[in-house]
Symmetry: C2
Subunit: 418 residues, 2 copies
């Protein structure tokens, strides 16, 4: 028989990440600078194995039973402690009851949009923003609208108040139900929000009444290269005290992508409770076993040493990629990028006329050379420029990064000189 | 500040399961016949530990990396093979591409409702039905409507065609977008659908045009006591060939609740693809590590022996509970139940005038005796009777079951003789 979707909110929008991940897994011969995988070489196999053995020694088997919908108490408490570990945030009044464990931070994003938005509502995002988040908004019939900023990911602070005024004038201000920010090493730009940026945002958004909930997605925060990004999280800033702020953290990128455990934290317990209710419908709790593994790792005190090791690893890979791109002439050809201070991504912008979109000559030139990247236009809510590319240095082994850079540069040269 | 939910579809409806699970975990001194936990004593700790050790020996660390959104290919193939293992279903034309791995079968239920329904649409359910499913429908603004049947969970075959005609007459037939069935050892009744039941349903539902999608939730199918339930799954029945049928299976109840891995299967690859797209928004893939554990267990061929062990274990616990209920006079007091042929649940109905609802004298008498059950009225879409109780024999150790039965019977006596 023929089956066609009959009617649903959630079906809209193609899933680019699904395609990227499938491409990467199905074509190991392709060199992928696209999918945001971490590096298998630094996944904490020994720590996980030790945790499993330790759990297995508990004859109660409770680690293999269902857990609570909100997540393990010890893991939630440890997550709150991690947040207090950042400079200037020791006083964060959070405990386990302010934290909820999710299937990666992605699930928290999904549920929070379900909670705060109806179809047709507006979510303010950065320019550029995380393309999976833009897709999920599209899937739920919610409209993304970009805060003023440039293609490099720099917030236009002076443009914020005029932007809000323009929304008011057009009658759309009342449809703004949520703000989505990545405070540190943002996907895709690897840019960070400064303290000034955050204060300017609070000032501009204070014009909304009631105060608009704000999500700060800190998925990459632990992956700084040399020092933590100095700006405090929104949760810890006096200027944001009157907003319902939700912090999104994860153990997926910084520990093990295969465990898929993230968390959300908020001073507003009503939000945590509301998310818990919806999570009760989604799956009534993230896998208890993977949570127990993480809780054990955090208890042993070995997590900081793991982080120190991968920070140096990804910094070296990032510098390696940048050097190879320069060596193969990308800078000389007019491409620009900011040197990332953390994260897994490099955000490259080509000279005037560059078109990196799916199906473009540039894209075809990359596929011919067996190299994948994320076309930058996918990362914009609207008014996308076509000259950007997201390059991930997470997954490829160090020796493959140079070859990937060589191919990418050859494709750029070929597309610019047909 | 004060925060109140502003507007969302998914917030409606209280989560009974969240409360039940929290109660069970927070009050270990309470004897719980409520939450649908499995028995820690038969959780496969050794199999999981062996699988973890085996995975850790793979130096690629790929088992700790992201996997595909749809789930591991080997696990999906193994799930399709499991389905072909049932009597009369060897010919099921399913392969890995017809299967998608989810966070327990609950996530599949949620996404399928998102896919097929808009707010205000109708989902047909059994009478009684799985209360978490009823809650998730409420959360999404979708209306549940019961197929004709009695409080014991027996489908009223003769009433099906008049029921459909009545829907047509009332103009509601066009709003029916989905049918949700539990074919074997249903939650809460532990009833099963016979081949005649299934054929009668197909006949009655054939009047809908286009054909309505049907979900067969088989979460308890592997947990038969003595022999598999003989009726074939809808997927394998000629009479259902023209319907978009989705089969929901799981490794959560029959293997390890703490791993939270389920799956859906359908002949309609368009449905699998549509679910994958939404899952890409929810979490872009179930934890890869727990999937790798299950795939290893299935490959080793040790899964059938595990199942054989727990089947005998739960059968013995069920008979133990029934005997204790009889010994303590529940039958003599006018309560009835069908002896389950599988599953983890006993569905008890009190004599006329019994009221088991939350806050009732019966409920208070149970709480005073530190005994928990699920009030049966929560399991009905509408027109709920008040005299039923769902008693789970999954979690309690065998020696605690007799004491729980004693307390339940004492509460029943006390409430009936105030």
């Amino acid at each position: 028989m023929q089956w066609a979707p009959t009617g649903l909110r959630a079906r809209r929008g193609d899933s680019v990440i699904t395609r990227l991940m499938a491409e990467q897994l199905a074509h190991p011969e392709m060199l992928s600078l696209a999918a945001g995988f971490t590096d298998n070489a630094v996944l904490p196999a020994a720590l996980v194995q030790e945790a499993c053995a330790r759990l297995a020694a508990d004859p109660s088997n409770a680690w293999l039973q269902y857990g609570m919908n909100r997540g393990r108490h010890g893991l939630r408490r440890a997550a709150a402690e991690l947040l207090r570990g950042y400079p200037g945030e020791q006083e964060l009044p959070l405990d386990a009851d302010h934290v909820l464990v999710t299937n990666g931070s992605q699930q928290a994003l999904y549920i929070l949009v379900q909670l705060f938005c109806e179809p047709g509502d507006i979510v303010l995002v950065q320019r550029p923003s995380y393309f999976v988040f833009l897709e999920l908004l599209q899937g739920l019939g919610v409209r993304a609208l970009s805060l003023p900023g440039d293609a490099a990911g720099q917030l236009d602070r002076a443009g914020l108040e005029p932007f809000v005024e323009e929304l008011r004038a057009s009658g759309e201000l009342g449809r703004v139900r949520l703000v989505y920010l990545m405070g540190a090493y943002a996907n895709p730009s690897s840019g960070c929000l400064s303290g000034d940026d955050k204060r300017a945002l609070a000032r501009a958004l204070r014009r909304l009444d009631p105060p608009v909930p704000v999500l700060e997605d800190m998925a990459y925060r632990e992956l700084y290269f040399d020092a933590p990004w100095p700006a405090r999280s929104l949760l810890a800033m006096e200027e944001w005290r009157d907003f319902p702020v939700v912090y999104l953290g994860t153990f997926t990128k910084p520990f093990a992508t295969g465990l898929k455990v993230g968390f959300m934290a908020s001073r507003e317990r009503a939000i945590v409770k509301a998310v818990a209710k919806v999570k009760g419908h989604h799956d009534f709790g993230t896998a208890h076993f993977t949570q127990a593994i993480l809780e054990h790792v955090l208890e042993t005190g070995l997590y900081p040493a793991h982080l120190a090791g991968i920070r140096a690893h990804y910094r070296d890979k990032c510098r390696h990629l940048e050097q190879a791109l320069r060596d193969h002439g990308l800078g000389a050809a007019g491409w620009q990028w900011e040197s990332p201070l953390g994260g897994l991504l490099l955000w490259a912008r080509g000279p005037g006329g560059t078109d990196t979109r799916l199906g473009s000559a540039f894209h075809r030139a990359c596929l011919e050379r067996e190299i994948l990247y994320v076309p930058g236009d996918l990362c914009f809510a609207e008014g996308a420029p076509y000259h950007c590319a997201r390059l991930s240095f997470g997954a490829l082994a160090a020796d493959r990064i140079a070859e990937a850079a060589r191919r990418f540069c050859a494709a750029a040269y070929s597309a610019a000189n047909p």
